[in-house]
């Protein structure tokens, strides 16, 4: 099973077109292995992105450097997946 320990989902708010472009730059950096749950569409629409643990600090630093606001939507993806699995197992039992 793929492990998502330490993966966070960030909700990013791009205030204007320039910030949106910056987020799109992030999308192009394949080594970060970002998974956009909601793609950068236009300013004002939230962008949700799953960030693997090794990339969390870089992505946050990038956003902060460019003054792009974000909040942590999911602190640890794996803990939610564990909950989900436990619940399914409980029902099956």
């Amino acid at each position: 099973n793929e492990n998502f320990v330490g993966h966070q989902v960030l909700r990013i708010s791009a205030a204007d077109e320039a910030q949106l472009q910056k987020v799109k730059e992030l999308e192009d950096l394949e080594h970060l292995k970002l998974d956009f749950w909601r793609d950068p569409a236009r300013a004002g629409i939230p962008i949700d992105v799953r960030v693997p643990f090794p990339s969390v600090q870089s992505v946050k630093a990038f956003l902060e450097y460019h003054d792009i606001s974000y909040e942590i939507m999911i602190e640890d993806v794996q803990s939610l997946l564990d909950e989900e699995k436990q619940q399914m197992a409980a029902f099956q039992a």
Binding site: N1, F4, D35, I45, M73
Partner: protein, 310 residues
Amino acid sequence: RALSTDTFNYATYHTLDEIYEFMDLLVAEHPQLVSKIQIGNTFEGRPIHVLKFSTGGTNRPAIWIDTGIHSREWVTQASGIWFAKKITKDYRQDDTLRVILDNMDIFLEIVTNPDGFAYTHKTNRMWRKTRSRTPGSLCVGVDPNRNWDAGFGKAGASSNPCSETYHGKFANSEVEVKSIVDFVTKHGKIKAFISIHSYSQLLLYPYGYTSDPAPDKEELDQLAKSAVSALTSLHGTKFKYGSIIDTIYQASGSTIDWTYSQGIKYSFTFELRDTGLRGFLLPASQIIPTAEETWLALLKIMDHTSKHLY
């Protein structure tokens, strides 16, 4: 394992095997109303099943509903199961549904991307695409919502096989897509096509690949408005509605752009609930409320379709 669809647990997520068993149970319990059709096999050889709800007649106009084309959007497959049960429960009691089924058939594909769905259970819960191989690339899968023959390969899809929005080598390269294309084309009388995704709470109509307005934009917009209003009336969930390109972003090769180009006027796509906290990991406790509210919107669209057959 549930012994009947009455004891089946609709408030939890299920594996592919469990969903296929549910479909068999439903067919066995309602042989006069429900039948199961296999429209193809997936890339990995799994059967692709569609439930047909019909009160009889031949060559009837029909409504198509699919859930789970993006495999990780688990609330959609779970809602599809609930819709199937709801149809069998309500078709004699709910006048609107009875009239619809008196005149039309309903096709429901609960797991549109079975390979991807099985993969989300066994290996990677975050998997969205199909599981097909691209020669020359180590990356697997195609985004089945970019693989349709409508503005295929234009802006709003990726040519990179490693991207989540990879459009595939050519339109209909994915057997999961081609199976629907063949079915819809052969049927010839699909009048409404509703493709269900999650999340972000939207009801969208064509187009996604161009900013040109759809010729039926006004009617689609009015219908979307009334469907969203019905949806919101149950639990207060707010939905936005509009064309794909205006409401979210440019997306080429998407399902409902193709269906619309085939003359299926009532082509819609949903993005179901978003708690704002869990995204694709929507808690199972929200499956039933999500399905309940979505059903009200579906009924509006189906009712309008049956009253405005073209």
